[in-house]
């Protein structure tokens, strides 16, 4: 088979708007996405203190329907998907037979026999292929809905008030990790109370043709409260502060959910067998490395791949690092060996381009919202 030539980056339904707003664009998993509109630090702070608006249309939606849709997903994923109540959502993962993580996912149950699986853009095809293959023996159908949705997120403490001004949906009754169909600014939407920022917020799945109208309406309603458009750069620092893993950094096919400290997503007691069960059973008993937080004492920023050191020896590796706008210091998530994982462990540093800079080991997350 010939290697396909890389296609031109895909553009979301909001592409023209991003350009009109003067966004700096970046190629992300084959999509041309806004990296930032102005200062990424200002965008980050807006989400922490007011509200931010994100285009996340690169995320991959896969719909699974049918009388056995729930059981099929119980088999395909590591979570107990059939136990999710209608209108609720669950954070879960899909693993290989050897327990390695193929992707982390959010699954929304829209109806008794209808689920939407949301995959990372970089893994959407892999997830689609795996789910399709794994549900083959069940009365369930898999539909590639990647082009059926644009995804717009409103995140931050002002987001409930902003959204409430645009919808009759019962937002007060919509709990964290729940989703319901409704109408926002006259646009039919799946309204989900989910996010990747550590703040309260909503993710709105809408038809691509409605995306611009919705974006403009939220901008208009939110601007007086300080809402600003936000790019992927601040999304990364927001999730990092909130201690949320990112596929390709904290999660890879070489790691199990237990390695990542997320073994709780694996439900061994659910009915039926699931892909990866045996390997994951074994992995549950051997936590080799631990995911920890590191806070810099100096100002140099640790980056993914930098070695974590103690007593001149490499004891781990940074998976994500950035200057934290909220803490005002560089922070990192890193894998370290178990004996250096306790918060406050002395003598831990990061090798920053040849210089060992001291770091404090802390428990994740770095930031937790108080309201």
């Amino acid at each position: 088979m010939m290697t396909p030539t890389p296609a031109a980056p895909r553009r979301t339904a909001l592409d023209a708007l991003h350009r009109a707003l003067g966004a700096t664009m970046t190629d992300f998993a084959g999509w041309d996405m806004p990296l930032r509109y102005g200062s990424e630090r200002d965008e980050h702070n807006a989400v922490r203190t007011r509200a931010g608006l994100f285009d996340l249309s690169h995320m991959g939606e896969i719909t699974v329907t049918g009388p056995q849709a729930g059981q099929a997903l119980d088999h395909a994923l590591v979570g107990h998907i059939s136990a999710i109540a209608v209108g609720r959502a669950r954070y879960t993962m899909i693993c290989q037979e050897d327990g390695g993580i193929l992707d982390d996912l959010i699954v929304y149950r829209l109806g008794e026999s209808e689920f939407v699986v949301v995959a990372n853009a970089s893994n959407a095809q892999v997830v689609l292929d795996a789910v399709t293959a794994r549900v083959a023996g069940f009365e369930a159908d898999v539909r590639d809905d990647r082009d059926a949705y644009a995804l717009i997120a409103v995140q931050g403490p002002e987001s409930p008030a902003i959204l409430a001004s645009l919808t009759d949906a019962d937002l007060d009754g919509l709990k964290y990790y729940a989703g319901l169909p409704g109408t926002v600014a006259g646009v039919p939407a799946l309204i989900a109370r989910t996010g990747y920022t550590g703040e309260d917020g909503f993710e709105l799945f809408v038809a691509p043709a409605d995306a611009e109208k919705l974006w403009q309406a939220i901008t208009e309603a939110g601007s007086p409260a300080g809402l600003v458009p936000c790019g992927l750069s601040c999304r990364d620092t927001l999730r990092l502060e909130a201690g949320m893993p990112l596929y390709g950094h904290e999660l890879t096919a070489d790691l199990t959910p237990f390695d990542a400290g997320l073994g709780r997503v694996v439900k061994f007691d659910k009915p039926g067998d699931f892909v990866g069960r045996e390997a994951l059973r074994a992995a549950a008993d051997r936590p080799v490395r631990k995911l920890v937080g590191l806070v810099a004492e100096g100002r140099r920023v640790p980056r993914a791949g930098y070695p974590v050191v103690a007593d001149g020896k490499v004891i781990g590796e940074v998976t994500s690092g950035a200057p934290s706008p909220t803490l005002g210091k560089p922070i990192a998530i890193a894998y370290v060996d178990a004996e250096h994982a306790a918060p406050g462990t002395e003598g831990v540093g990061v090798d920053i381009r040849g210089t060992h800079e001291p770091y404090e080991v802390v428990a994740l997350p770095f930031y937790k919202r108080t309201r």
């Binding site: 700096t24 990296l35 930032r36 200062s39 990424e40 630090r41 750069s233 620092t237 100002r299 140099r300 920023v301 980056r303 950035a322 200057p323 560089p330 381009r353």
Partner: protein, 125 residues
């Protein structure tokens, strides 16, 4: 932001002012600052040290990445901008003014520095 006509530019996106009493000021261009995003940390050469045109002499950290700072000219560093060390955001807000990086007593200047117009076409602006 347009590139000031009175400055000259390196292909590594530094600017250098015309020497006054043999001393030139060095900074990075607005184009470079925009590409970096919010600068959060600058490491500058020490006063009294010698920098060599085309060699790295410091680094600039932004949210997303770290970039080397190259000396556009050769000479002895006479002053560094403490304001920019304390508040690296000056590199973004005023790259050609308050965000200057260091001053250097120029002993040698490469022949391939660009004019403002040449630099503009080099960066495609």
């Amino acid at each position: 932001m347009s590139n000031p006509q009175q400055l000259r530019y390196s292909k590594e996106h530094e600017w250098v002012s015309a020497a006054e009493a043999g001393v030139s000021t060095v900074g990075i261009t607005s184009h470079a600052a925009d590409a970096l995003g919010d600068v959060v940390y600058v490491q500058l050469p020490e006063v009294g040290s010698t920098v060599t045109a085309g060699d790295t002499c410091g680094e600039l950290e932004s949210t997303k990445s770290v970039s080397d700072l190259y000396a556009p000219v050769t000479g002895e560093v006479t002053e560094v901008n403490q304001d920019v060390v304390d508040d690296p955001a000056l590199v973004n807000s005023a790259p050609f003014e308050g965000g200057w990086l260091f001053k250097v007593k120029v002993s040698e200047e490469p022949g391939d520095l660009l004019s403002a117009d040449e630099y503009a076409s080099f960066t495609g602006n």
